[in-house]
């Protein structure tokens, strides 16, 4: 039987597990590796649960541990789709059908996976509307540096998505 603290933790993770899935999707392209990373992140969150202060934002705490686990973890480097496969297709933001939404999303995820580990972390948080001061705090760089990097990332994504 799970104790009260376990239940509270499971509820919190359950509520925010989309965040963990996003980290896994961006740092692992293989399904099994994604599941392993998911498990490792949950385990690290549980081990560090005593450090979570109720007054802090749960997502900031989760991002920190999830990204630390994903980036510093031992894993084989694998990339997503091959560049040439995507070069054959053209990405268009103005399309609105469901299929195009799906294609746009896949292309965005693929493009983000081509970025460096740090750039992936920054753009993921930015797309999740995390304020720049929180991104800076999670990564350990200045807010100004986050802005500079964001400009570079946007430029890279533009090129990747519109080859």
């Amino acid at each position: 039987m799970a104790g009260e603290q376990e239940r509270y933790f499971v509820n919190l993770v359950n509520e925010h597990q989309g965040l963990i899935h996003k980290v896994c999707n961006l740092y692992e392209s293989d399904r099994d590796a994604r599941n392993d990373l998911f498990q490792e992140i949950v385990l690290q969150l549980w081990k560090s649960f005593h450090t979570f202060r109720g007054d802090a934002k749960i997502t900031t705490w989760m991002y920190r541990i999830a990204l630390n686990t994903a980036i510093s973890g031992l894993r084989k480097q694998k990339r997503g789709l091959q560049t040439e496969d995507l070069n054959e297709r053209h990405f268009n933001f103005s399309e609105t059908s469901t299929d195009d939404h799906e294609e746009n999303l896949q292309k965005l995820q693929w493009s983000i996976r081509q970025l460096s580990e740090i750039e992936r972390a920054i753009i993921m948080m930015a797309l999740d509307e995390v304020p720049y001061d929180e991104i800076a705090e999670t990564i350990g760089i200045t807010q100004n540096n986050v802005r500079v990097r964001m400009n570079r990332i946007r430029e890279k994504l533009r090129k990747l998505m519109n080859p």
Binding site: N25, E40, R64, N68, I71, S72, G73, E129
Partner: protein
């Protein structure tokens, strides 16, 4: 910024992940970790147990041999192994205190690299000391087994001495090369990867 808003709207569409249920999450909480720190901890525990076992075996062996050069050699080795045991205990305590949740990504990478670097340096220093010690011990046991005078007498033959020196060099170079390769395979590539990521974080 309009472009970023476009990306955000695409990003928000993702919902197709397989949500884990409460039972799965509870199960995950009980699994063993595979982070580099956990692997390092397991390695250190293995080395600690192995070293303690060696201490016990050698300790018991010393009670069965008479006073003399061999006993003092084994006692010196025991002192060396005990100092290693203390190091392993200290290392395990340090690794137990490692907590990635309190540091930001940059600080976490820096601390992780410091620990891995320290571990690699310790290993290199260890086998720089231990391999020659074990080699000399092996010779000593061999000499005692075949009779010390007979053993020394063999070295009067220059061909035997030259062969002995060449084989010793090949053996030592071989074990150092294998150990270096093994350490690099185990942690070296990962250290390089972490260093590259940390370099990427320089302002």
């Amino acid at each position: 910024m309009e472009e970023l808003d476009d990306l955000k709207s695409i990003w928000k569409q993702q919902a197709g992940f397989e949500a884990k249920n409460e039972g799965e999450l509870l199960q995950m909480m009980g699994k063993s970790s595979n982070t580099i720190i956990s692997k390092l901890k397991r390695s250190v525990w293995f080395e600690l147990i192995f070293t303690v076992a060696c201490i016990l075996v050698l300790g018991m062996y010393t009670t069965t041999i008479p006073h003399g050069a061999l006993m003092w050699t084994i006692l010196s080795l025991l002192v060396l192994l005990i100092s290693y045991t203390l190091y392993y205990v200290k290392k395990i305590m340090l690794l137990n205190h490692y907590d990635s949740s309190t540091d930001n990504l940059k600080a976490n990478l820096r601390h992780l690299l410091e620990r891995l670097d320290a571990y690699m340096k310790f290993y290199k220093r260890s086998y720089t000391i231990l391999y020659p010690v074990f080699f000399v011990l092996g010779l000593l046991f061999g000499a005692l087994e075949s009779g010390f005078d007979r053993f020394i007498h063999k070295f009067e033959n220059p061909l035997y001495t030259a062969s002995f020196i060449i084989l010793s060099i090949i053996f030592m170079v071989g074990v150092y090369t294998i150990t270096n390769w093994y350490l690099k395979k185990l942690y070296g590539n990962h250290i390089e990867k972490l260093r590259t990521i940390l370099d990427d974080l320089k302002d």
